[in-house]
């Protein structure tokens, strides 16, 4: 007898067993909807039923259940066609690389980013399954209607329990191996490589979302989904202290580094169980720094991951706890300089320390203290957490540390400098270190632009402790004490209810220019204040601004006579709201929030329906992501994922280090078109969003570019006015003149801001050859050069307001609907 299942391999039988789902009076053949139905029939059936009769009749459904890269080619091609990848050659490579090779490197980088996030998600999931069991339910709270969309967009299902998550993550892991194969052994075209890079990007969001969801649903991280919308304006409150000046060093201080919060979580458990809340300082740097306040409001965020060394050089911690990490320096050596002890957590936190996971906490404690060990390695988070607390208390009690590790005598150390200027050469921010050697205030100035990368110290032939000098000089100027700010903890997801409000403000009306999302690791040269100023610029102009990742702490540092930025704006996801989603993994809330925006209007299914959702939001929702400080692989992957979702990304400062961009060519009219969604007629549209991944150099360029990228071909009248005004104002303010293409976005004088209307109409007449009569446009100059009346112009250029349109042939509605 033949083994079961063999029969399905024969083509004939497959046909005979048509898989039909009935919705209303409509029959859908699942084989036509999914590429390979085997193993996913139940998922496909559910989705088709959820879509309902009307949708199924409107378009031919196509589901990318547990998608491979090529399953979403339909959409990727739209993007890659319009925005051809552009590579900047890496200065260190001697020969000019072929494009396809660069594409291959781009895929490698994206895979690395994906890999990091996947590993972390897997670790966390395994731990959660151990503790809670596979059936542990995942509930995002009553304010969230559509839960885990980064996952469902690719897999076709929400992760309703840990078992679902396991399935989703296994899928992503399989995908990664497939992608890696191409990234290292593939010989493919640029487009094929980039398609895969986009896929890796999308998978990165899946991984981040799984980690983020476990945090919220199993470890009680603050989650707005559990709160009613009425609380959003001030929740979570502005109460989290940020900065090194916020630490009370008379208490034992633990600083957590890295991106795994588990040791911190158990440390806090221990602190709470023993009533030690007021007796100990729990601080974090980088990702974990933003995690702690979400379950413990006594937690303090010291700085972003990249600047971690700042904290040790300032001598703040008694104990440092490191997990697998975004750190690239020898933490043990750094800790030793200031007599702090290290608890390295996990299997990957290679630190040369002895693994003591099998011993009891008290034994380890005794051992470390008596023998003055530099630290230990522990793979059990409960133990690591408890040990950290006990160790910190013991160190403090024994008075094992100096009060202050700053240099008392700056002159002496500085005098070793021979002015070779090697330090200046290696400094990424080109700080004039040697010139500042005998001037405390100049050294203190360097502090503001120094990311404590340590390159200068490593380069110095005389062994000058440059970073100590900078730190100590800054301290004498009060910069350490003054490093003290307030922010809101991360809040997790944005709800559909907020989008309902937002829709009135930015989709139907034009009260705000759009939704600006600032993300990043906070590793950029230049002032930390710039990113806050970008946020403030858009907040003042009524946008919704969200922050996630380590930049949130930098945004917190904005302070003026009205208080901290987080105090000045409400926390709700509405116009003039400043939302902090949370650290690193919370970046997954950005696309999820935007998908919700799409769903509130459209009611499409967000399950394995990538093309339709992306096509929808790409052409309609005025949202942009600013990635500030972008050099890491994680961010490379994140950018790719965002682009695939149809969300334009601006990278800066010095964004040209990013290696690969997706730029549009506004002058190539053949690229800018859409299908009328009903007749299928191809129509020329405005060149927007003009780019999908674009570098900028300065804060001003970032703002102007961001404003420019808010145009959408399907925007309605008032939002068209709002985005045009945003662009015009920014260009005029920062560069003194309007952009050379603003007129491409005008289709009626009603879209010109009233106070500029007369001026802009005059310009249309004088500079662009339009015919103006009083305060009205009489005839417009079409891009072909023809002068035509407005009726004709509106017919030939752009989509009629409110007309359903699409970039994907499949999504043209089927003709002759009954």
């Amino acid at each position: 007898m033949e083994p079961e299942g063999f029969a399905t391999l024969r083509a004939g039988e497959k046909k005979a067993n048509k898989k039909i789902v009935k919705v209303g009076d409509c029959e859908v053949d699942l084989e036509e909807v999914v590429r390979d139905l085997r193993g996913v029939e139940d998922i496909a059936t559910d989705i088709i039923k959820e879509m309902g009769e009307r949708r199924v009749k409107q378009w031919k459904p196509k589901l990318n259940i547990l998608a491979h890269a090529s399953d979403i080619a339909e959409w990727d091609n739209v993007l890659l066609n319009r925005y051809h990848p552009l590579y900047t050659s890496i200065p260190s490579t001697p020969t000019i690389m072929e494009e396809s090779n660069q594409a291959k490197l781009s895929l490698q980088d994206t895979c690395k980013g994906l890999f990091k996030q996947l590993t972390f998600a897997r670790d966390l999931l395994e731990f959660a399954i151990k503790v809670f069991g596979r059936n542990r339910e995942i509930d995002m709270g009553s304010s969230i209607t559509y839960p885990t969309m980064n996952t469902s967009m690719l897999t076709g299902f929400y992760t309703k329990n840990l078992d679902d998550m396991d399935r989703a993550l296994s899928y992503a892991e399989t995908q990664l191996s497939e992608l890696l194969l191409a990234a290292y052994f593939g010989a493919e075209s640029v487009i094929e490589f980039e398609e895969k890079a986009l896929h890796a990007g999308a998978l990165t969001f899946l991984a981040m979302e799984i980690a983020e969801t476990i945090k919220m649903c199993c470890f009680e991280f603050f989650n707005a989904g559990n709160h009613p919308a009425t609380e959003y304006s001030d929740s979570p409150p502005v109460e989290i202290e940020v900065g090194m000046g916020a630490v009370d060093r008379t208490k034992p201080v633990i600083v957590f580094f890295g991106n795994n919060f588990l040791p911190a979580w158990f440390a806090v458990e221990h602190v709470k169980a023993n009533g030690l809340e007021d007796a100990i300082e729990i601080c974090g740097v980088g990702a974990v720094g933003h995690d702690i306040p979400r379950f413990y409001n006594g937690g303090k965020v010291l700085t972003s991951a990249v600047k971690a060394r700042k904290v040790t050089r300032a001598g703040i911690p008694d104990v440092v706890v490191a997990s697998e990490t975004c750190l690239d320096f020898d933490l043990v050596a750094e800790a030793k300089r200031v007599d702090a002890k290290v608890v390295a957590y996990g299997y990957k936190a290679g630190s040369g320390l002895e693994d003591r996971s099998d011993d009891s906490v008290d034994d380890i404690l005794k051992n470390v203290m008596e023998n003055d060990l530099p630290g230990v390695r522990i793979t059990i988070p409960e133990k690591a957490g408890e040990l950290a607390v006990k160790l910190a208390i013991a160190i403090k009690q024994k008075g094992k540390r100096k009060e202050n590790y700053l240099l008392a005598e700056l002159k002496e150390e500085a005098s070793r400098c021979n002015s070779c200027d090697l330090c200046i050469e290696v400094c990424p921010n080109k700080q004039t270190i040697s010139k500042a050697m005998d001037d405390v205030s100049a050294l203190a100035d360097i502090y503001d632009n120094c990311i404590f990368c340590g390159l200068c110290e490593r380069a110095c032939p005389e062994g000058v402790p440059i970073m100590d000098l900078i730190m100590s000089a800054a301290a004498t100027r009060g910069k350490l004490k003054g490093d003290k700010y307030l922010m809101r903890a991360g809040r997790g997801p944005m709800s559909e209810l907020e989008w309902r409000d937002l829709t009135f403000g930015i989709i139907l009306g034009g009260n705000g220019p759009g939704m600006i999302n600032i993300i990043g690791c906070g590793n950029y040269p230049g002032s930390e204040r710039e990113v806050a100023e970008i946020a403030r610029y858009f907040l003042e102009r009524n946008a919704l601004v969200t922050v996630s990742g380590c930049v949130a702490a930098d945004v917190a540092k904005y302070f003026d006579e009205n208080g901290f930025l987080f105090e000045q704006y409400i926390a709700a996801g509405v116009l003039k709201g400043l939302v902090n989603f949370g650290g690193c993994t919370a970046i997954s809330h950005v696309p999820a929030a935007i998908y919700r925006g799409a769903l509130v209007g459209s009611g499409y299914t967000p399950k394995a329906n990538w093309t339709q959702i992306a096509d929808y939001l790409y052409a309609r929702l005025p949202v942009v992501v600013i990635m500030w400080g972008a050099a890491t692989e994680e961010m490379y992957a994140v950018a790719s994922g965002l682009v695939r979702s149809g969300i334009p990304v601006v990278i800066g400062p010095s964004g040209f280090k990013f290696k690969r961009y997706f730029l549009g060519d506004k002058d190539d009219r053949s690229k800018w078109w859409m299908y009328d969604g009903v007749t299928g007629e191809k129509k020329e549209v405005e060149p927007c969003p003009m780019h999908m991944l674009v570098p900028v150099d300065t804060k001003e360029e970032a703002i102007a570019m961001c404003a420019k990228l808010l145009h959408r071909p399907l925007a309605l009248r008032d939002p068209r006015l709002a985005s045009l005004e945003a662009e015009n104002e920014a260009y005029k303010n920062f560069f003194g003149e309007y952009s050379d293409d603003w007129h491409l976005y005008v289709r009626s004088e009603q879209e010109l801001h009233v106070m500029r209307r007369a001026e802009l109409l005059r310009k249309l007449g004088q500079e662009h050859g339009w015919e103006i009569e009083g305060m009205k446009i009489k005839r417009a100059k079409h891009r072909s050069g023809e002068l035509m009346d407005m009726q004709e112009y509106n017919k030939r250029y752009g989509i009629q307001l409110g007309r359903y349109s699409t970039l994907v042939p499949r999504l043209i509605t089927r003709k002759g609907i009954k």
Binding site: G24, E53, R54, Q58, S142, S143, T145, Y146, P228, A229, T230, E496, L497, R500, D501, T503, F504, I507, L508, G509, N511, G512, P513, R541, N542, K576, L599, V600, G601, S602, G603, Y604, R620, V678, L714, L716, R717, D718, A722, S748, Q750, H753, V754, M755, R757, A758, R762, M775, M790, Q791, N794, Q800, L801, G802, R803, Y804, S805, T813, G816, I817
Partner: protein, 488 residues
């Protein structure tokens, strides 16, 4: 009829004469002539006016000066009138009576803005729009806080922006904003009265309110209220939301604001003229085939055409039979509760569960997307104020459940005898309990139940399908059975 009309006209003329007299008799102030040439409409204005300034709040300690509001016991006015007779207005004349802004730092004073518009085709029907556009100078004006309207108006100016402002330019901004948006306005003038003690204080402004504003408002409001679907030959269609929900069309009628709440019938009418390639189009009513439910041949035809031949019928005042479609962005929703054969109402502020067992958000997700969902309908939060609200389904007598806060807001629209019969989440959410509640309070829907005991729910057809004729008759019959039109 003619007689009544005559008196109305006479009343109007008499009022106009009185107003002119009072206008002329106002104390003399400083007279400015602001630009009347469109190119210079905003020349000299150094503060920003744009939507992003909207909704600004000025706290007490940030305040440079305050006009009107509770401290002045709301004795100030913002009065806009349409003047007949071209010669009555000197275009661009702005008269400031009383001190300038820079002279009233730290003070709180009563005030009056009196703005007059003239245009050959301008009538009082446009008053709402004229008001909206004039208000923009404050509402979207940098530094200003504007609360309330008419004689409850309350303004504050922020310290940090004070040096950008004076009344001359405020007057200029107000009338020119209106002019640039609305070409029907040919001439405009304004008097700005800052009623210090020596100018009579709030007694002065109060006198104007009583003798000028209130009679005018009462008259135009009465007329606007009386204007109903039957007075309009054409309704207006809007397909903005088609971009979210292909095949969705709104029919906007005097008694039927769209669910987005951003457009009114008169607003649509004006938009249609101003922005002919926009998204608003005319919908000639055609013949009325169902006065109760509000179904018209012309509307049905247009809906069919504009929905890309998807929907053939719309019953404007029903949420059960052939209701209007919607995308997802509505402020409130009506839903059919089969367990009691009644209708519930919920708005987006309410985060809890409804008797359907879902929250507003979930409900909205289910009924959005431009489908015709018999039994469900997204509405504007003000829709229930319409005198024709769900009339085909039995009007207010069919409403059985509203969240407490929303019910409070609707107090004036709910017929008094119905108020206590409508349950809120505090009374019950569970349909079983709701049933008991309705029996206890003798809610009219109980009369639709078999023996007043067992609800006999309707058989709602699936979305986008036609009703079975018998079922439709039954559904409409029920509506008719319990409809009591509330007294006007």
């Amino acid at each position: 009829m003619t007689k009544a009309k005559l008196t109305e006209e006479e009343e109007e003329q008499e009022q106009a004469r009185d107003r002119q007299e009072i206008w002329d008799a106002l104390p003399k102030g400083k007279v400015y002539h602001v630009p009347t040439n469109p190119d210079d409409f905003f020349t000299g204005i150094s503060y920003d006016i744009s939507p992003r300034q909207a909704g600004q709040r000025v706290r007490k300690h940030d305040m440079y000066c305050e006009l009107g509001g509770p401290k002045q016991r709301y004795s100030s006015f913002f009065f806009i009138e349409v003047v007949k007779g071209e010669d009555k207005i000197e275009d661009g004349r702005v008269e400031v009576i009383g001190p300038e802004i820079k002279e009233i730092e730290g003070q709180s004073l009563p005030f009056g803005f009196w703005i007059r518009y003239y245009g050959k085709e301008l009538t009082e029907d446009y008053l709402d729009l004229l008001t909206r556009w004039t208000y923009f100078a404050l509402e979207e004006g940098e530094g200003w806080m504007l609360l309330n309207t008419r004689d409850t108006i309350w303004l504050r100016l922020h310290k940090k922006d004070a040096d950008k402002h004076d009344f001359e330019h405020l007057g200029q901004a107000m009338i020119n904003l209106c002019k640039i948006q609305f070409p029907l306005v040919e001439k405009a003038d304004a008097k700005i009265l800052i009623a210090t003690e020596d100018l009579g204080g709030s007694k002065h402004t109060k006198g104007i309110i009583d003798n000028v504003c209130v009679p005018y408002w009462e008259r135009v409001d009465k007329r606007a209220r009386a204007f109903s679907d039957d007075d309009a030959d054409t309704f207006y269609g809007c397909t903005i939301c088609q971009t979210f929900a292909p095949s969705h069309v709104c029919a906007v009628a005097p008694d039927r604001p769209p669910y987005c709440g951003i457009i009114t019938w008169i607003g649509a009418k004006v938009m249609c003229d101003l922005d002919p390639y926009g998204y608003i189009f005319e919908m000639p009513k055609g013949e009325c085939v169902d006065p109760e439910g509000g179904e018209y041949t012309g509307i049905n035809e247009k809906i069919y055409e504009k929905s890309n031949r998807t929907y053939k019928r719309v019953v404007m005042y029903s949420s059960i039979t052939y209701p209007q479609t919607n995308c997802g962005c509505f402020e409130a929703a009506i839903f059919y509760i089969p367990d009691v054969d009644g209708l519930g109402l919920v708005d987006r502020r309410y985060g809890g569960e409804t008797p359907l067992g879902v929250t507003f958000s979930k409900l909205a997700g289910l009924i959005s997307g431009g489908q015709q969902n018999h039994g469900y309908c997204g509405i504007s939060s003000r829709t229930p104020r319409s005198r024709k609200f769900v009339r085909a389904d039995g009007g207010w007598n069919r409403i059985v459940w509203i969240p407490k806060e929303y019910k409070q807001i609707l107090t004036e629209s709910i017929p008094a005898e119905m108020f206590d019969k409508i349950a809120t989440e505090e009374d019950c959410i569970d349909p079983k309990e709701l049933k008991e509640f309705l029996k206890r309070v003798h809610h009219p829907v109980v009369t639709l139940w078999k023996d007043g005991e067992t609800p006999d729910p309707l058989n709602l057809p699936p979305p986008n399908t036609d009703w079975d004729q018998e079922e439709e008759k039954k559904a409409r019959g029920k509506g008719k059975d319990i409809l009591v039109i509330p007294p006007p």
